[in-house]
């Protein structure tokens, strides 16, 4: 009930309308005088509000219904009933109650604003848009109303409508810095970067404002500058955001992202480490930091960082892959395999996991070929048309002198991915081993033909 500030609505509907001649048919009315009815109405209203506060919504509906029997034209009663019906999940009747409240007292924006929420719950976006148009027509200068609607719509991921309402708030004369930052956030998301920069930078400059708000503004300005390719400006504003509010993890992540896009990985690592030191409980930095450390060949530190992430969040799939990648680059196939097996255990349906394991096994020292074939059988079951399954199987069969099976597997791989040179090479070598020099020559010829064709 506090969407717009219930007090504003209640003040506006202070004179409870008691239409004695308009009793609803299902209302059993005792012979009360007008003052008695007013007193009873107020009593029921108070009880209903109390029930609402205690989340006894069905009881609140009953009490409001009883109150409306006494005052069928009371916007306050109808609004209360609508809110209680919505809280108890009866959205269609809630909408009717609110529409009635709105008809009786069209000077209040509250029933329409509540209807926006109900229409969202009913997934009736056309009706929700109709509410917004009505609010715009009847309350064009109510900046607070439009700002609050914008906030609600943004929370519900209706960003375009949120931007529309945020613009209405601005056009309604809202000079409120919070609203301006919200508008800048939505403009940045919409791609209106110049507008976002202008609004955000204006708030960032206002030193009398709380630093957290200025940090948000600086962050938005930085993101918008990054989007228009002005990375120096982006860095300045994002560093400003970190200075103003060192507890916001998004500022570090966005700044690291700007450095990464410029391939300045040591700078990205420094920013992420700074963020992690400031917010040690956060896991948000660890994947990016671990991956960047691996990029600058600090494999051990990268693996330790990613292991820390997995310790806190074992479902961070990409961390296993990055550890395996680092281990492979370090030549530690045992560690690579371990990371992939760990991933397989946590997420057995991870795409291509068995192919990755088989490949890692083949890159190792003492190869257990039956085990590799076992992994490839699992891979085939998951993706029967993955050419890598047959390519790797062909390599295993060659290594174990099962030449005829190797030829079948490699030909299948070529059939599935005819422009990949690897299987042709393996097939050519296989035919050489089998003493079939003409067939080998043919495959080498195709390989040469394929590699000489840049348009492929």
């Amino acid at each position: 009930m506090n969407l717009i500030g219930a007090c504003r609505f209640i003040a506006a509907s202070g004179s409870i309308i008691l239409a004695t001649s308009l009793y609803a048919q299902d209302c059993a009315q005792p012979g009360l005088s007008a003052p008695e009815r007013l007193s009873r109405f107020r009593d029921l209203d108070a009880q209903a509000q109390s029930a609402m506060q205690q989340k006894r919504f069905s009881e609140a509906v009953r009490l409001y219904r009883e109150a409306i029997c006494l005052a069928p034209e009371s916007p306050r009663g109808l609004y209360g009933l609508g809110v209680a019906q919505a809280a108890s999940g009866d959205f269609l009747n809630a909408r009717e109650s609110l529409r009635k409240a709105d008809r009786i007292q069209p000077t209040s924006p509250l029933p329409l604003a509540m209807e926006v929420r109900i229409n969202f719950s009913l997934d009736d976006i056309d009706a929700l848009k109709a509410n917004l148009r009505e609010e715009a027509q009847r309350f064009p200068r109510d900046a607070q109303l439009h700002a609050l609607l914008a906030r609600f719509l943004a929370e519900k991921k209706l960003e375009t409508l949120a931007l529309a309402e945020s613009l209405r708030a601005q056009q309604g004369g809202s000079g409120d810095a919070d609203t301006t930052v919200q508008l800048a956030i939505l403009e940045n998301a919409a791609g209106a970067y110049e507008d976002a920069i202008r609004n955000a930078a204006a708030v960032e400059r206002r030193t009398e404002l709380p630093e957290k708000l200025r940090a948000s503004a600086a962050g938005v300005a930085g993101l918008s500058y990054a989007s228009v390719g002005q990375s120096d400006e982006a860095i300045t504003h994002l560093q400003g955001a970190i200075r103003l509010d060192p507890s916001r993890e998004n500022s570090y992540l966005a700044l690291a992202d700007v450095f990464e896009r410029a391939q300045k990985y040591p700078e990205a690592v420094a920013v992420l480490k700074q963020g992690w030191a400031k917010i040690p409980d956060s896991t948000a930095f660890l994947l990016q930091l671990g991956s960047d450390l691996i990029r600058i060949e600090k494999y051990r530190e990268g693996i330790d960082t990613l292991r820390e992430l997995l310790h806190r969040d074992p479902k961070a799939d990409q961390a296993y892959i990055s550890i395996a990648d680092a281990a492979r680059k370090m030549g530690n196939s045992e560690q690579e395999l371990q990371a992939l097996h760990d991933l397989s255990r946590h997420k057995p349906d991870y795409p291509m996991i068995h192919v990755l394991i088989a490949r890692a096994m083949l890159n190792g020292g003492a190869i257990d070929y039956p085990k590799v074939l076992g992994e490839l059988a699992l891979a085939e079951k998951a993706a029967p048309e993955d050419p890598d399954v047959y390519y790797l199987r062909g390599k295993v069969f060659i290594a174990t002198n099962r030449y005829r099976e190797a030829a079948t597997a490699l030909n299948r791989s070529i059939e599935l991915r005819p422009l990949e040179p690897g299987p042709y090479y393996q097939l050519a070598r296989l035919y050489q081993k089998m003493g079939k020099s003409e067939l080998a020559k043919e495959q080498f010829g195709r390989l040469k033909y394929l590699e000489a064709a840049p348009s492929n």
Binding site: D126, Q171, G191, E194, I414, R446, L447, S455
Partner: protein, 321 residues
């Protein structure tokens, strides 16, 4: 062209006549005026809060080469143009609508710089599918694709889908001669010019011609013998695609293809053909036909003297070893 049916905004083709304008969403407006009883304007908030419509449609440049890439397919979301025009109450002599963008420049040295504009029959604007679009593939339009709003006429070539829309001017048939569209020289572009030897016929281009393109293989490719999937897209302006045929012998024989999904009007359909490529020189071609019976021509009409509607079947040469 990408593998999926819907082209991501980053890959959507862009063809501009002038530089992209700087537009603030805070001050942008589109004005409905001209031969109307009640001219009015909408800002961004007014526009996006109106009842909307979503439509999947191909956008193709009228000058897209026969196997060219100036074509994309997107899901457009916007407001139908018809009720917006009706709100302005067009007068009885209204017959045309001039759509004007915020981009401007000079088309000819002896002409004044003027905004980009196109003229579309009022009847076409009143069709259900004609939109003022503000979203592409679920996201607000990128600036290069016309943010905050652009016209979309599914089934028509892209020049009429004016980007960065700021004016919708209702005109009579007689108004065109004095319009900015005429004064800028835009009426000299996008015309079908047919020279039969005796007569020269000039007519305005509008509806997209039936067409298919081959995304793979590319012309001049060298392939080892084997089985390949030849694939591409097909589309038509007014009706759905009915069939796409593929030839691997320069059109001597034709084979039917598999459509990846049911064809629908306005959007393109992806097709596949499984080709067992044997050693030798091959010429691969595709040929689409639509539900209205129109079929891609094998060659360009020799009487055509313009550079538009380039929809003939293109030979793709492949060497297989």
């Amino acid at each position: 062209m990408l593998e999926g049916s819907v082209t991501p905004p980053n890959f959507f083709f862009v063809r501009d006549h002038f530089d992209q304008p700087d537009i603030s969403v805070e001050t942008w407006k589109v004005r409905f005026e001209g031969r109307v009883a009640k001219p009015y304007e909408l800002n961004f908030s007014d526009l996006v809060e109106l009842p909307g419509k979503r439509i999947e449609a191909v956008l193709e440049c009228a000058g897209n080469a026969a196997n060219g890439s100036a074509v994309s397919n997107g899901i457009w979301e916007g407001i139908p143009l018809a009720p917006l025009l009706e709100r302005a109450q067009p007068s009885s002599e209204a017959a045309l609508v001039m759509l004007e963008g915020a981009d401007s420049g000079r088309l000819f040295e002896d002409r004044s710089p003027l905004p980009y504009s196109q003229v579309v029959p009022l009847e076409r604007c009143r069709q259900d599918s004609s939109l003022i679009a503000f979203k592409l593939n679920g996201l607000l339009l990128p600036v290069r694709n016309g943010f905050p709003a652009r016209a979309i006429f599914p089934g028509w070539y892209g020049m009429d889908s004016v980007k960065w829309l700021r004016r919708v001017v209702v005109m009579s048939a007689q108004d065109q001669a004095s319009s900015a569209f005429h004064q800028s020289g835009m009426d000299c572009f996008y015309n079908r010019v047919r020279n039969s030897g005796q007569d020269v016929n000039i007519s305005r281009i509008s509806s997209v011609q039936v067409k298919s393109s081959i995304a793979w293989p590319t012309d001049g490719v060298k392939l080892p013998a084997g089985r390949y999937t030849v694939w591409g897209f097909a589309w038509s302006g007014s009706t759905a695609i009915r069939e796409i045929l593929v030839s691997t012998d320069a059109g001597s024989t034709w084979n039917s293809t598999a459509l990846k999904r049911q064809a629908s009007p306005h959007s393109w359909v992806r097709w596949n053909y499984s080709w067992n490529a044997t050693p030798g020189e091959h010429v691969v071609m595709s040929r689409a036909s639509d539900e209205s019976g129109r079929q891609q021509p094998m060659k360009r009409d020799p009487q055509r003297k313009d550079g538009y509607e380039l929809n003939w079947c293109v030979p793709i040469h492949c060497s297989v070893r």
